[in-house]
Symmetry: C2
Subunit: 427 residues, 2 copies
C-alpha cells in the first residue's frame, strides 16, 4: 500500500536495544544461509513453515538429475534405502536421542497413530489415554481413533490457560491410564511443558508417555534420554526448516523397541526386506516402525535445515529464542498492550516456546492487513489469536522491533478494517 | 567391460521387426520427454522406478524458489492446500474414477491400512479378509495387521502359478468374507486380474473389494467405476513416473464415502480445518481420508508424469505395452529359452501386465552382470526371478531386441559368473 512506512523506526523506544542485541548475537550470520528475497518482508511464521535454506536447491538438483535421472533404480541401493535412517541419525542429537532411536517416517499424524496403537496395544488392563485441550487438534482426533479401535477411551484434561496444568494432569493419571500424550509446546499459546517432570509424573502413575515435539524440535533443548520419555513424534518443517510438508520423525526409547509393534508393518520394516517373505518378521530396532516407501525428494530436502541447527547449536538457538521472545514481549507491553492486544503466551520464558501469541478481537483482519500492507507475516489461529514465530536462525531483534511498530501503525490507523469480511484461510 | 558388444544387433532375427514396430509406434516421440543421459543404457525397470520426466526439474525449481522461498507460508493458501486433491483429479480419469473419488495421500501401505481398517470396521458379522500369495508381501503384512487389530483373520489363497485363480478365490469368498484385497497386477509374475470379473465375484459373495493398482496404474486401462470396485490404492512411482517414493493414491467409490471412516483422522480431513475444533467432524467426501500434511516437493514432482500418461492416452499406452511384451516374449522364445531362461509370466497378453519375468537358476549374478557389463537394468526378485519392465512412454522395440541379445551374450559367455557371490540388494 502506497505510503505505509515500513521503517526502520529509529525513534521508537527499543530501537537501540534491538540493534545492540543483534550486534551481540553469536548466530546472527546464520541468516545468510536462508533465502531472503525481500529484506523488507518480516517473516514471523517459521513456527509454521520455516524459511528455505539456500542449500536445498543444489541438493535437489543433484537428487533429481544425478540420482533419479542418471542413477535410476540404482540410487535406491546407493543412497536412498537408508536415507530416512541416516537423516534420523542427524536429528537424534538435536532431541537428545541415542543412535538407533529415531527415524524419519510418514507424517506426524501417522507416526502418532502408530506409536499410540503400539502403546495401547501392549497395555494389558489400562485402557485410558490422557491428553489435554492445548494439544494440536489432530492429535486429539488420532488418539480418540486409537482408543476407539482398541476398546479404550480418551480423557482430555483442561490445561489451556490453567495456572496448574501439572495438578490437572496428575489427577487424570490414575490406575486406568495407559498412556499420556501431549504436545511439548502448545501450538496456540506456546506454553511448553517440563518434559522430564511430566514424564516422571506419568511414570509414577504407571503410564507411558508419547510426546509431540512439533513446536519444540530445533528450537528448544530436548533431552529425551535424560527425561526418560518413552516415545515421541514431531514434524520437521517448522524450526527445523525441512520444507513444506516434509516427512516427520518418530522416536522410541531403545529398551521399548522390542516390545512395541507397529500396527502398519511394511517391507521396509521387515528383517529381510529383499526376501519378499509372505510372513512378516520385524527388523530389529527402530527400523520395524517403517511402513511404506518414503518420498525421497522431500526427505532429501530436509537435511540442510538439520545441518544449520546442529552447527548453530541448540543452546545458542534457545538463548536467542528467549532473547527474541523476551524482546517481543517488552515491545508488546509498551506499544501494543495499550491498543487492546493481550498476551496469550506465558510470561515465564522457562514455560514458553519460541512463538508468542497475542489475542485481539480483530485478529483476523489484522493478520490480513499485516501481510498485505505491513509486510509482516504472522499466523492466525481462530478465533482471535495472532501467533508470531521467532526463528533464531534467521529472525533478528530489529525485525521484531520493526514488526511491532508496523502492527501498531495498522491498529492505530484502522488500516485493517477493509479486511474484516475476508474468508478464513490457512495462513 | 571392455570389448562387450552393446549392439545394435542387425544380424539377429527380429531386428527389422523391431525397427518396423518402432517406426509405426504412434507414441514413439514421448521418449523425448524423459531424461536419457546415456542412450546405450537400456532401462527395463520402469515398473519399479519410472524414468525422470524432463518437466520435473523446472517444476521443482519453481516450487522451491518461488513458492517455498518467496511465497513462504502464503503458498499453502495459494497452491499447496488442495494440491493432493488437484493431482488426484488428474489421476482419476487414468484409473476410471470420477471426480471426487481419488486423492493423493501417504504411502500405498498406509492407504491400504486406512481403507482395510475402514472396510473391516463397518462389516458387522463377517471377519475374514481374503487375499492371495501373489500379492505384494507388504499388503499381506498390513492386511494381517488390520485383521489382528479388529478381531478378524486373513485367508491367503494360493493363486501364484495357479491355472484357475478365480476358482480358488471363489472358494474362499464364503459368508465369513468381509473384504477381498488383491494386487491387480502381480509384482512377480505380472499376472493381471480381470478387475471387473473379480469384483463381481466378491460382490456376489457379499464382500467388498480393495485393489492395489501399483503395477497397473498408468500402463493398463482400468475402469474402477464400470467394474464396481469399492476401494483402491496404488503407488505413483512406477509407470506413472511420479518419482522416487512419490506419495500414493487412494480411491473410494463415491457412494461408500459416507459410511467408511478413516482410522487416522487428521485436521486435513476435518470439515472445518481452520476452526481447530477439539472434536473431529469429517469433511464430506474423499477429503475425510486425508491424514497429516503431505510432502509437497514429492507431491509437486509427480504431476509431469501424469500429464504424459494423459496425453499419450491409456489405450495407446496399453497397445504399445502389449506390443513390447509380445515382442519380448517372441525374442525370449528364440534366443533365451534355449539357454535355460523360463517364462514366469502369462503367455496370454490379456492376463499380463507390462512386465515380463524370466526365471533362471543364476538370476542374481545375471542381474548383476546385466547392469555392470551389459548396460541393461532389469529387476531381481528372489530367489530366481528377473523382471523386465516395459514402459511404453520411453522403451522401444529396438531396446527390447538389443537387451535380449545382450542377455544372451552374457549367459552364453558366462560373463555373470564373477558376480555369483555378491550380497543381495535392492535393484
Amino acid at each position: 500500500m502506497t505510503g505505509f512506512h515500513l521503517g526502520p523506526f529509529a525513534g521508537a523506544t527499543g530501537f537501540s536495544d534491538a540493534v545492540g542485541l543483534d550486534e551481540a548475537d553469536p548466530i546472527f550470520d546464520f541468516r545468510e544461509r536462508y533465502h531472503v528475497a525481500d529484506p523488507e518482508l518480516i517473516y514471523l511464521d517459521g513456527n509454521s513453515l520455516g524459511r528455505l535454506p539456500r542449500a536445498v536447491l543444489p541438493r535437489l538438483e543433484e537428487l533429481v538429475v544425478d540420482q533419479w535421472g542418471d542413477g535410476l533404480i540404482r540410487s535406491w541401493n546407493e543412497t536412498w534405502w537408508d536415507l530416512q535412517i541416516a537423516i534420523g541419525e542427524r536429528l537424534a542429537p538435536l532431541i537428545g536421542a541415542l543412535p538407533g532411536e529415531v527415524i524419519i517416517s510418514d507424517s506426524t499424524s501417522v507416526n502418532l497413530y502408530k506409536l499410540a496403537m503400539a502403546a495401547l496395544g501392549v497395555s494389558e488392563s489400562r485402557r485410558k489415554i490422557v491428553t489435554d485441550d492445548a494439544n494440536f487438534p489432530t492429535d486429539l482426533y488420532v488418539l480418540r481413533g486409537v482408543a476407539g479401535a482398541l476398546g479404550g477411551y480418551v480423557e482430555m484434561v483442561r490445561t489451556e490457560g490453567s495456572t496448574s496444568p501439572m495438578a490437572s494432569l496428575e489427577a487424570a493419571l490414575d490406575e486406568e491410564a495407559a498412556l499420556l500424550s501431549l504436545s511439548s509446546t502448545a501450538f496456540k499459546s506456546g506454553y511448553t511443558y517440563d518434559i522430564a517432570g511430566v514424564t516422571a509424573l506419568a511414570h509414577r502413575a504407571g503410564a507411558s508417555v508419547l510426546w509431540d515435539l512439533s513446536h519444540s524440535a530445533g528450537v528448544m533443548p530436548i533431552d529425551l534420554e535424560a527425561s526418560g520419555a518413552d516415545m515421541a513424534v514431531g514434524c520437521t518443517y517448522k524450526y527445523l526448516n525441512g520444507g513444506p510438508g516434509a516427512p516427520a520423525f518418530l522416536y522410541v526409547r531403545r529398551d521399548l523397541q522390542g516390545s512395541l509393534a507397529s500396527p502398519i508393518p511394511g517391507w521396509w520394516g521387515h528383517a529381510e526386506p529383499f526376501a519378499f517373505d509372505l510372513d512378516y518378521q520385524p527388523a530389529e530396532g527402530i527400523r520395524s516402525f517403517h511402513s511404506g516407501t518414503m518420498p525421497i525428494l522431500s526427505l532429501a530436502a530436509m537435511e540442510a535445515g538439520f545441518t544449520d541447527v546442529a552447527e548453530a547449536g541448540i543452546d545458542r538457538i534457545r538463548a536467542k529464542s528467549v532473547s527474541l521472545t523476551e524482546f517481543f514481549i517488552r515491545q508488546w507491553e509498551e506499544h501494543l498492550a495499550p491498543l487492546g492486544f493481550a498476551l496469550a503466551s506465558p510470561l515465564d520464558p522457562e514455560r514458553r516456546g519460541s512463538h508468542v501469541s497475542l489475542s485481539h478481537p480483530e485478529a483476523w483482519p489484522l493478520d490480513r492487513a499485516l501481510i498485505e500492507i505491513g509486510m509482516v507475516i504472522p499466523d492466525f489461529r481462530a478465533p482471535d489469536n495472532l501467533r508470531f514465530g521467532l526463528a533464531p536462525l534467521y529472525n533478528t531483534h530489529l525485525e521484531v522491533h520493526t514488526a511491532v511498530q508496523r502492527i501498531r501503525a495498522i491498529a492505530m490507523t484502522g488500516a485493517h478494517a477493509p479486511f474484516a469480511g475476508e474468508k478464513l484461510t490457512v495462513t
